[in-house]
Symmetry: C2
Subunit: 298 residues, 2 copies
């Protein structure tokens, strides 16, 4: 079992969905990722929050035994995001984004090396900077978003040359490659650098590429989707967490990791914020993984 | 092995996609269904065409040894549909529909009974009428569309009471049930009558219900989607064809049938019209089914 270092956002979210409204709840890509990954392997979180960051949010991360020595507290307010989900709830309607202390975030890297690194959705310039500072022994994984694909394209392409595993959603994959067809998009992304790619399709599952082969899974069917926020980040957390636990890269582990990511994400959406993830245990994940295997086997 | 009777449309389509334009090519729900089902079991097609129906389209059905004794030729023109696919190509943009002889179609049923019946997308009043005239020994399956759900709701609900297996797409399932969530939609449809339900999600696979349990599969990943027309009908054909071949209803056959439906549909979209289906053999289907199993197993 190896340690994962994750660099990304820790945020205060306000979310509205057909299931209700949550004001100022706990969010952020690095929060979801680390909480999910920590079911499988040790996690160190590198992020920044403001002076207003509530102590009970910190306790949520501490209860999961996440290493918070890299969580910087700076003068100012914590990153805030406000979104709304409607219809099939596959895409969030962003109502407001306040970067606050996240705007000038420059990750402080105190260690020379790590085993697994996850560069969550931050400015590719910062992602590249981190890669210069830290030697990654086993796996460099990353995420990105439409904004960086459109506005920091060259910087992102520079990062991708050093990324082993890219985990992005279908919209981002299409924007990044100019390919509508996801099989073609996977092959295209492979030519940019990553040898392992997962395209997340929200409620429609995932399609992935490893060693020249395609792999695909549906989503785990959930009756009550309260809040899809963080589903993608906890997918990545479950997936990379499992890879770090196994600590051996092969096609079987890659595929099983995607199934774990799918299952962890299916818990995330069942309540607002990190609520549902806080209720479950590793056994709960194992049970659902077995069910998932049963309901997809023919 | 049992015979399947299918009642639906035989049409002349004009289709435009990013891969080109096809004028006056062979189409129709019953054409795709019967061609696909015939890889597995004997099929009798009941439909109507006009005097302009090209002999080489009839030969396509004959080459697959489909029983055409129920294919009526009537004064007038054959049903015509014109559509266009763009973007992710999951939904067709209908440019023109000319019902022609299909407008007054009233299926002539000469037999008292059949083993398997597929009521393709036609007026639910006609579907009900067929059910009154023919005794179905093994399985009544049906499809429908938004138009009937919206405008012939009561007639459709009356039909559903007598349907064992409903095969519809996600948009239709949502409209029929008022549920955005497909797990809930499946349970709702089950309460309308059908004990077996498959919701097709196009490029996103399928989610199904049988004996109280959910089953879900991704689509088979295809690089070049030329023309999604008939994918849903050939899915139903592959699925019900396999069920008729096995001739025993249980959860294993139900799930494997969905996998066959998925694979057959994946061939359909690889060329325009029935072109790709005409190139393949039962062995080609078996090979892809094996690949499908491999690329979805974890």
């Amino acid at each position: 079992m190896s340690e994962i270092v994750v660099i990304g956002s820790v945020a205060i979210d306000s979310v509205e969905s057909p299931y209700g409204k949550q004001e100022e709840c706990f969010g952020g890509s690095a929060s979801y990722f680390s909480y999910a990954a920590r079911f499988f392997a040790p996690v160190k979180l590198i992020a920044v929050v403001g002076e207003d960051f509530p102590p009970h949010f910190r306790e949520v991360l501490e209860e999961q035994k996440i290493d918070l020595s890299g969580l910087e507290v700076r003068k100012g307010k914590t990153f805030r995001w406000k979104g709304k989900y409607e219809g099939d709830m596959n895409v969030a309607d962003t109502l407001d984004t306040q970067l606050n202390v996240f705007e000038t975030f420059c990750p402080t890297i105190t260690q020379n090396s790590c085993d697994y690194l996850f560069l969550a959705n931050i400015d590719p310039r910062l992602q590249y900077d981190v890669l210069q500072k830290i030697k990654v022994k086993n796996l460099v994984a990353s995420d990105t978003m439409n904004h960086w694909i459109a506005n920091k394209h060259d910087e992102l392409m520079q990062v991708l040359k050093h990324v082993d595993l890219l985990v992005i959603n279908d919209m981002e994959a299409r924007l990044l490659t100019g390919e509508q067809n996801l099989v073609k998009a996977l092959k295209r992304i492979n030519s940019f650098g990553p040898s392992q790619i997962v395209i997340k399709k929200g409620a429609h599952g995932a399609i992935a590429f490893y060693g020249g082969d395609i792999f695909t899974l549906p989503a785990y069917p959930v009756d009550d989707v309260y809040d899809p926020t963080g589903a993608g980040d906890s997918f990545a957390g479950g997936m990379i967490g499992y890879l770090a636990e196994k600590d051996a890269m092969n096609v079987t582990n890659f595929r099983t990791a995607i199934a774990y990511g799918t299952v962890v994400a299916s818990f995330t959406v069942e309540r607002f914020s990190l609520e549902r993830l806080r209720e479950i245990k590793r056994e709960t994940i194992e049970e659902r993984l077995n069910t998932f295997r049963k309901i997809t086997q023919f």
